[in-house]
Subunit: 150 residues, 2 copies
Amino acid sequence: MSNQPSSDVSNPLLQLENQLCFPLYALSRMITKAYQPLLQELDLTYPQYLVFLLLWEHQELTVKELGEKLLLDSGTLTPLLKRLEQKQWISRRRDPRDERSVIIGLLPAGRELQARACQIPEEIFAKLNMPQADFEALRRQLNALLTQLA
Amino acid sequence: MSNQPSSDVSNPLLQLENQLCFPLYALSRMITKAYQPLLQELDLTYPQYLVFLLLWEHQELTVKELGEKLLLDSGTLTPLLKRLEQKQWISRRRDPRDERSVIIGLLPAGRELQARACQIPEEIFAKLNMPQADFEALRRQLNALLTQLA
DNA sequence: CTTAATTTAGTTGCACACAATTAAACATTA
DNA sequence: TAATGTTTAATTGTGTGCAACTAAATTAAG
């Protein structure tokens, strides 16, 4: 006759509250949503922004390399990259030394996006409203878990 | 003349490595992928599993309540719930006291899924291969950040 | 050199996510 | 109570994610 959540077969391990997966899933989406208004001004989606972070740093990467770094496969990347190609922000060409590979490069308009994006990290950090130390600690912890699992 | 990543305009704040968002995004997808083979045996997707976690605990919830708890809107939930209704796992009916609301309830087949799901949390925990204390600490930290931002 | 295996992108199909809009039911207020 | 505003789902359209499959190029084995 207890005043339980209303089920007598309630398994604490099966409660949303006690999952690790859910806050990861929800936080990931919330942070993506925090980026959205900033990225909208650049006409970029969040995964497209991640691709550009890599291209701004490396100039050229194959689809395979992008997939390894972002943990995304060609089923996701190919249509995404084709949309960026249509906007003339990136180039796609076969590697002449290995025709299986497609090399993604920055076009001038894509390179110029960097200047407009460079304030985004600070603006996001301000939105999060977290102490810098907590931010760094969490980032390192999540990165460690990520490389351990990948 | 330094041996930089190959760009002279490289902004550390714009490197994938230094983002908090990326490990969250990638970890979330990796954990979803870890659930996939277990959920496949129940013919469930990961977001559908989250809906059932709530329904097993609360028996009945409106679409609005599900959306508040999962941070999802009706554009995501309505088609997802209709698929579960087609499988005869849940019921969807208007609240007679407020015809705007749709009440989602468990049907017998949906309730019986719980017995088959109850080993999943342990199996996932084993896959993660993390000390229990780390798991709990991370879960609490992410939940705190989530409620702070939401 | 030829066959078999592997690697790499692309394609297809399905299920989210979410912004934007619509429509019905309910609440408020003049 | 009539007009206005709010709440709640549903709908539409776009863009991921990802499993499964295909096809072309390369490599390895015999």
